[in-house]
Structure formats: structure tokens, C-alpha cells
Subunit: 182 residues, 2 copies
DNA sequence: CGGCGTTTTGAGAGAGCTCAACATCGGTGG
DNA sequence: CCACCGATGTTGAGCTCTCTCAAAACGCCG
């Protein structure tokens, strides 16, 4: 048997008991309060973990991209604390939580991979939080670029604005300013 | 042998090979670029993981309190990406990274505990990031309180201001406003 | 009493947000 | 081919909020 494989937690989702699910844009994956029975890995598209504040504002707690697990903490919780829905047409793989946890317990290499993924997520989430304490767009952009990030193609700049927690206009103005100053 | 113990990753630091270290306020625990040989658990006080931006501003990536591991992601990295120093007089327990990882690999229950801790950290870090995208102090405070947090005793309100990413004055004004409105 | 840190309150300035108009570009359909 | 449409990019003007600097009232403790 060929056993050459990266010990990545993602391989857990290649199990037989995993099922694929297609979501259309805006389709809910689960709602706050639902019992956690399955855990979802995003294969394609984007799934947002979100909560609505008392004032009605929508807060995106996680923008899960391909390779990400939606609501990692739910793997250790009986019920979801927030809802999740597809930000656009997406494909996810569902796996019973018990299977997921059993796989981690059975294979230390997978557990390490999973923990490393979580540790990196903590790191980037903290960075995002700190970037957003900076008050000017210029500072936020500098800090973000200093993390090794690069500006994407034109047509995706709005995503950066969202990442930095500023409006499109504010980012466009800052970019224009930099072009003018060279 | 009595083996009644909660399967918490913290117990890993009770190993014989662990050493305690006292830090005075401002004392560095490690610097960016240092090779990762030991991993630190905060026992008392507070240790800040920080980076200085190109403009000189100091960014606090983690405020590790008792029970927290400083720079969790360092356990999966050969060298530190940022520096850490004691925010006040603190006590930490150091354990060789190899020991730490070996303990996790040897005991699945510990691995689960560690992963659960990381998952919770991801959750709270994301929440902090999202709270800081809200523009008014009132919104941030509402969102924070909505997470189940409660205002501390008078004398510690400044900590909340830091947590919310606003100035003391702004928070005091908001609190005064609420007292006036009941 | 005299510090020291926290809490309060004031006034001004700056930065981004909002609303708004317009340009640009790619795709669609007549 | 061209008109139209939606999404992205660009720029302007006013408003609102926080930040900054400043001063003072508390509260605690030696």
C-alpha cells in the first residue's frame, strides 16, 4: 500500500463517511443554536461565519476559504454560537464530528497538523485585530503589507479594504496618494 | 499512583524538565529571530507578544495571562517572528519544545485539550478583530458585553478601553453617557 | 497632608464615513 | 456594432466620531 501522504488534517475529510455539499450564494450552512453533528471543510468558494449584533449590524467572524474548516471551535462545542452561510457558490465536505475527533485521537501526526493550523489561525486573527487598532488607512496598509501580503490584481482591491476594516473609498484614496508620491 | 487530573495541556508544564523563570516588568522573554527551544506558560503576571511597525508604533499581538502559552504558533516554528516581554512582574514556566510536542503526541487527551484551547483562542481573537471594525465606542461596548463579558470593578476600566481598542477618555465618556440615560 | 493613579470633563483638530456624482471596464443582448 | 447594465474604480464635500492635549476632581495609601 502506498502511504506517501502529507500528514494534513485535510486528509481526514477524505474519509468514506464524508459527504460533499453544494451551497448557492447566501445559502445557510447552519444557524446559531444548532447542535454540532458535522464539521465542514471548505473545498471551493467561501463560507462566512457571522453574527448579527443587537443593532442589526452583521459581523463576519470568519471568512473560510478553501482548505479552512468552518468554525473550528465548534469541534469542541455541543452547539454553534453563530450562523454560517455561503458568501458565494461554494462546495464543502461534511464529516461527523465524532469521526473528526476520532481521527485526531488516532493519529498524532494529524493532531499536530490540526494544532499547527489552529496556531497559525490564532496568529493571523491576532494580527488582523491589531491592524485594526491602527487609526489611519496608511498605517493599516503598511502593517498589512509588512506581514508579507501583496496587493492583488485590480478588481479585488475591495477585498483588501474589508480585510483592513476600512471603506473602499478610503483605501482607493490611500492607493491614489501612494501612486502620486510614487 | 494517583492519576486523578484534568487532561489539560497545562499539566504538561508540570514535568521535571520544566523550569520556572521570574521576569521583572519590561524584561524580555525572547526576541524576534531567536531560535525556538523552549515554550513558555504564563503562571502569574502578563507577558506581551509584540512587534514594532516600520513607523515605530508598537503592536501587541498577544497579552498572555496566567494559563496562556506565549506565542502558541512558535511551537510549530523554528524561530520567533516577534519579540515578547513582561508587561509587569511575571512568572513563567519554560519547557523544551521537543518535550511539549512529545507530550502532545503521546497523550491524545492532552492534544485535544491543546487544540480546544487554540480553537477558543481563534474564536476570541476573531471576535476582537471584528469588534474593532465597529466605528463607535457604543457599538464596540455593546458587542463586547453581548459576548457575555461584564464590566470589571472601577479601577480596571482602562483595561476594557485597551481591549476595545479605544482611548480611556472615549470609554469614560460612553460610560458616563449610559449612566445619564440610566 | 502629599503623591499617584484613576476617573471626569472640556475644546480643538484630524481622519474616515457617508452620500453623491462620474469614469472605466467587461459582458449581454438587440 | 452599439446601447445597456452591473461591478469596480475615482473623486468631491460635509458630518461625525474619536483622538489628542489639557485640566481638574476623586480615591487610596504611606
Amino acid at each position: 500500500m502506498i502511504t506517501i501522504m502529507s500528514a494534513s488534517y485535510i486528509s481526514i475529510f477524505d474519509a468514506d463517511s464524508a459527504t460533499d455539499l453544494h451551497l448557492t450564494e447566501g445559502a445557510p450552512l447552519f444557524h446559531a443554536g444548532d447542535p454540532v453533528t458535522q464539521i465542514a471543510l471548505v473545498r471551493a468558494g467561501a463560507v462566512h461565519l457571522l453574527r448579527r449584533t443587537a443593532t442589526g449590524a452583521t459581523v463576519i467572524l470568519q471568512a473560510a476559504r478553501p482548505g479552512d474548516v468552518v468554525a473550528e471551535a465548534s469541534a469542541y462545542s455541543p452547539a454553534y454560537h453563530c450562523g454560517a452561510e455561503a458568501a458565494r457558490a461554494s462546495r464543502v465536505t461534511l464529516l461527523p464530528v465524532k469521526r473528526f475527533r476520532a481521527a485526531l485521537a488516532a493519529d498524532p501526526a494529524l493532531a499536530v497538523s490540526w494544532a499547527a493550523h489552529l496556531a497559525r489561525s490564532v496568529q493571523s486573527a491576532r494580527m488582523r485585530a491589531e491592524i485594526r487598532t491602527l487609526r489611519t488607512v496608511a498605517e493599516r496598509l503598511d502593517a498589512w503589507l509588512g506581514e508579507g501580503h501583496a496587493l492583488p490584481e485590480k478588481g479585488h482591491w475591495q477585498d483588501i479594504a474589508a480585510e483592513l476594516g476600512v471603506t473602499r473609498e478610503a483605501l482607493y484614496r490611500e492607493l491614489a496618494r501612494r501612486r502620486a508620491d510614487h
